[in-house]
């Protein structure tokens, strides 16, 4: 009997395996790995499929860390054709593992030089920039008499003691791009000094990059250091939250596009990579992000300061990527694992 049960189990597994992926198709189906926001997936897919009529996009979406780990783990037998909307830091990591297909998309030369691969042919192209900002809860600030910060240096004010949440850079890419920005604008020595001071005011280093802003929006903390686009969603739901873009320089990362080396649909993948740098695509990114890789495209998204772009720190992605292990080890030595939050 048990033999029959096992046989039934095995055949059920096989039937399940065959039944699910069976789906007739004429269009080329591209598997696209992404860390884009969920609400962006449908519009991006619709626009790309309208522009490239014989291509169908199948998304696999997760947070940057998970999707990057998955890409690397799948390296022996790649499942993704295209990577669209994943951090440039991550793509440089993949490039170091020789996982990106060199290809210069049509029109990619027009992108800002700082927002595309420096290789020739290129390995990735930028889409837009996302920056680390301060999510500032005005309701909590009113209750606790917190001033409104305008610079990173303001965060050292003793009034903020125990009020700040920030992502742990060894768990979160957002955390790393934030400290990369500080190192870029202040120089490494002064950046560590700044972080020593900031540490006194931090209540918690979270493992997730979006948690500081989400929790600041709920009033758990007065201020959360997080990505800019997170705050927009929260405000629309009625959170008393303001985005502060510090005037003394903010670190940023890019969302970028690349073709996975080993794709079985190279031709279609190239055409999607071409589409990703077109003006139409950039205007689409501009509905969500303020700074776009193609100069001259005006972003439709609201609520950013006019001089936003000038506040970006000049980040050398390749250099920071190479230094990452050392910087994280130093950060961990100094700040990680406070025995209990204060």
């Amino acid at each position: 009997m048990y033999r029959r049960l096992v046989a039934a189990a095995v055949s059920a597994l096989i039937v399940g395996a065959i039944a699910i992926p069976a789906e007739a198709q004429q269009r080329t189906r591209l598997t696209v790995y992404t860390a884009l926001e969920n609400e962006q997936l449908q519009p991006f897919k619709t626009a790309a499929e309208a522009a490239l009529r014989d291509i169908e996009i199948a998304w696999v979406r997760d947070s940057t860390g998970v999707i990057t780990a998955r890409l690397i783990a799948e390296r022996a037998n790649p499942r993704a054709d295209v990577i669209w909307g994943v951090s440039a830091f991550s793509l440089l990591g993949l490039e170091a593992l020789d996982m990106l297909e060199p290809y210069t998309p049509q029109g990619a030369e027009a992108l800002r030089p700082s927002m595309r691969s420096d290789r020739s042919p290129m390995t990735w192209t930028g889409m837009d920039a996302f920056v680390s900002t301060i999510c500032y809860n005005t309701a909590v600030a009113g209750q606790r008499n917190l001033p409104r910060p305008t610079t990173w240096a303001d965060l050292l004010n003793p009034a903020f003691r125990g009020q700040i949440a920030m992502p742990n850079p060894s768990s979160s890419g957002t955390g790393f791009l934030t400290i990369a920005g500080w190192i870029g604008s202040m120089g490494e020595e002064r950046a560590w000094q700044f972080m020593n001071g900031l540490h006194e005011n931090v209540q918690v280093y979270t493992h997730s990059g979006s948690a500081p802003c989400n929790n600041a929006a709920r009033g758990e903390y007065g201020l959360g250091i997080s990505l800019d686009m997170r705050a927009v969603t929260l405000r629309n739901q009625g959170a008393p939250i303001e985005i502060v873009v510090p005037t003394d320089g903010v670190g940023y990362d890019l969302e970028a596009t690349a073709i996975h080396r080993g794709t079985r649909n190279l031709d279609a993948a190239r055409r999607l990579a071409d589409f990703a740098v077109t003006r139409a695509a950039m205007e689409m990114y501009g509905r969500f992000y303020a700074i776009l890789a193609l100069p001259g495209v005006t972003a439709a998204v609201q609520g950013y300061p006019a001089d936003f772009e000038q506040r970006l720190v000049n980040v050398n992605f390749r250099e920071m990527g190479a230094q990452r292990d050392r910087i994280l080890a130093e950060w961990t030595r100094r700040f990680d694992g406070k025995s209990a939050p204060r």
Binding site: M1, Y2, P21, S63, C213
Partner: protein, 542 residues
């Protein structure tokens, strides 16, 4: 019989041991696969964070176990050995923490005790729920049902003749408890201890959400694998995390040697007689536990109807319009339900038959030893580690099983293996309480073994079998950590959607979907209760 065990061994080898071996081998390899020996271990051991994380894991795990076990035992005792009213309902309520995605209790704790929480004033002014206190409270809630299931199976069957004999001998109630009740439940107690401690140590979801920056081993794995994509270092920490599994294995063996069958063929099923002095306190304790668990759910349910906690408290149903937040909308719930159903359908017979073969069929040997270890091991493997191991193993171009990659089949296999241990321990606990005489009588009557199994063992153990099936179903509905690496495009499970919505700041929508998942799992659980009740009467052919 050997063949059956060999097939089980093969399945566990392919579904667990080989993928893990591929991943853990990374601990000895550099970034490009070259052998570098113990270099990563040396680096890791020379980081002061290691000892601190290990110590933190150890004491929070031990404290969780010390709190949960007595409560779970009392609760299980109440629903099995007393006449308090509503035992069936308590049986369903005790499962609430595993019926819902783990985010739900975490959210409730934040709503209740967070810095803006309703009961924040109960915490010391400079205290906070974020940190060890939050971890221990949340893990007590999360591990409670696992302990309660094992213990209620352990206490579920007892031979009334032992109690009669003890009473005739004028033994005190306390003496009866010590000499009759406890010894029969000893194996269950050891299993429950091992399960609670191991779950508390390996879970990373709770410390990630509510642990603040309090470092534990499980979040160290997360930092290495997700934060820095350093699989080698992650594998090193995962190996450290496997130590509790080794410990569990020896503890289980120790308990096994001391456990003898308590339900003989001549047994008379024990049914407690009403006795207010025992039933009233038990009822109060069970009510208190149920209130805590229901309060958790109620809080999250309320949160799912609120526009934006705590600033816009108007009620709305719009959070249930999932298509607004996630392109899969309600579809992910369908995926999850299918995944849960397949996991239960395939996992339950597998688990029960293997447990039976190990307990009643196999002579001790290398094969049965291997299957025993492999059945206990999944508990100590963090889902994140298992998920990555599955990618590395099943996605390898040379793997003949590679065709299941990216399909529902790999999700189901992963769930069966991931939740194997508690299901296995439940089955073993149930089978051990059966007298081997059943088989002996069957053999002397020349009834084939499988017929004894089907006509005697299975019907007697049906309550436990149903428990296993529901356990597998609900866990597959709520699991995140392993499947997050394995789902293909268009087959995103609802539990993953919950996490993604929460990450994106859509807390109320995340709570709403968690509540729908809970509604599905609770319905299944209630259906099982109905079936068990109708079975209960004809439970044992007299």
């Amino acid at each position: 019989m050997r063949l059956g065990l060999a097939m089980a061994g093969l399945l566990l080898a392919v579904g667990l041991v080989m993928p893990l071996a591929v991943l853990l081998a990374r601990a000895f390899q550099g970034p490009n696969g070259e052998f570098i020996g113990l270099a990563y271990f040396v680096t890791y051991a020379s980081t002061p964070a290691l000892l601190r994380s290990a110590w933190n894991s150890l004491w929070t795990g031990a404290l969780t176990t010390a709190i949960v076990l007595p409560i779970a035992f009392t609760f299980a005792y109440g629903i099995t050995r007393s006449r308090l009213p509503g035992r069936g309902l308590f049986r369903a309520v005790m499962l609430i923490p595993i019926l819902a995605p783990s985010l739900l209790p975490a959210l409730s704790l934040i709503y209740l005790f967070g810095n803006q929480g309703l009961f924040r004033f109960m915490l010391p002014a400079d205290g906070s729920i974020y940190g060890p206190a939050g971890i221990v409270v949340a893990q007590c809630i999360y591990t409670f049902p696992h302990a309660a299931i094992i213990l209620s199976v352990a206490l579920g069957m007892a031979d009334a003749r032992l109690f009669e004999a003890a009473e005739t001998l004028k033994a005190s109630r306390f003496r009866i408890f010590l000499d009759v009740t406890l010894p029969a439940a000893r194996y269950g107690l050891v299993s429950a201890t091992v399960v609670v401690f191991t779950l508390a140590v390996t879970d990373f979801g709770i410390p990630k959400v509510i642990g603040g920056q309090f470092p534990v081993l499980a979040t160290d794995v997360y930092k290495q694998v997700i934060g820095q994509q350093n699989f080698s270092m992650g594998a090193v920490v995962a190996i450290v995390l496997l130590l509790p599994a080794l410990f569990s294995f020896f503890a289980e063996r120790w308990a096994q040697r001391r456990q003898s069958a308590s339900i003989s063929g001549r047994a008379v099923l024990y049914r407690a007689k009403p006795r207010a002095a025992r039933d009233m306190p038990l009822l109060l304790i069970c009510l208190a536990v149920a209130a805590v668990l229901l309060g958790m759910v109620g809080m999250a349910g309320w949160g799912s109807l609120i526009r934006f906690w705590p600033y816009n408290m108007t009620l709305t149903l719009s959070n249930y319009d999932f298509a607004r937040f996630d392109s899969d909308g309600w579809g992910s719930l369908q995926t999850s339900a299918a995944m849960g159903a397949w996991t239960a359908l395939i996992g339950t017979p597998l688990v029960f038959v293997v447990a039976y073969l190990l307990e009643r069929g196999a002579r001790p040997g290398a094969l049965s030893g291997f299957v025993r270890v492999a059945a206990i091991a999944p508990l100590a493997v963090p889902g994140l580690v298992l998920g990555l191991a599955y990618i590395l193993f099943f996605n390898h171009p040379a793997n003949p099983f590679g065709f299941i990659y990216g399909t529902m089949a790999i999700l189901v296999l992963n769930c069966v293996i991931h939740f194997y241990t508690v299901a296995h321990l439940t089955a073993v606990t149930a089978i051990r309480q059966l007298d081997p005489e059943f088989e002996a009588v069957g053999a002397s009557l020349r009834v084939p073994r499988w017929r004894t199994f089907l006509r005697v063992t299975v019907p007697i153990s049906l309550p436990a079998i149903l428990d296993i099936a529901v356990y597998l179903f609900v866990n597959a509905m709520t699991t995140v950590s392993a499947v997050v690496f394995l789902y293909g495009s268009g087959s995103k499970p609802a539990s993953v959607a919950v996490v993604q919505m929460d990450e994106a700041g859509q807390v109320a929508a995340a709570a709403a979907m968690a509540c729908v998942i809970l509604a599905i799992t609770a319905t299944v659980k209630l259906a099982q209760l109905g079936v068990s009740l109708s079975l209960g009467r004809g439970w044992r052919p007299a």
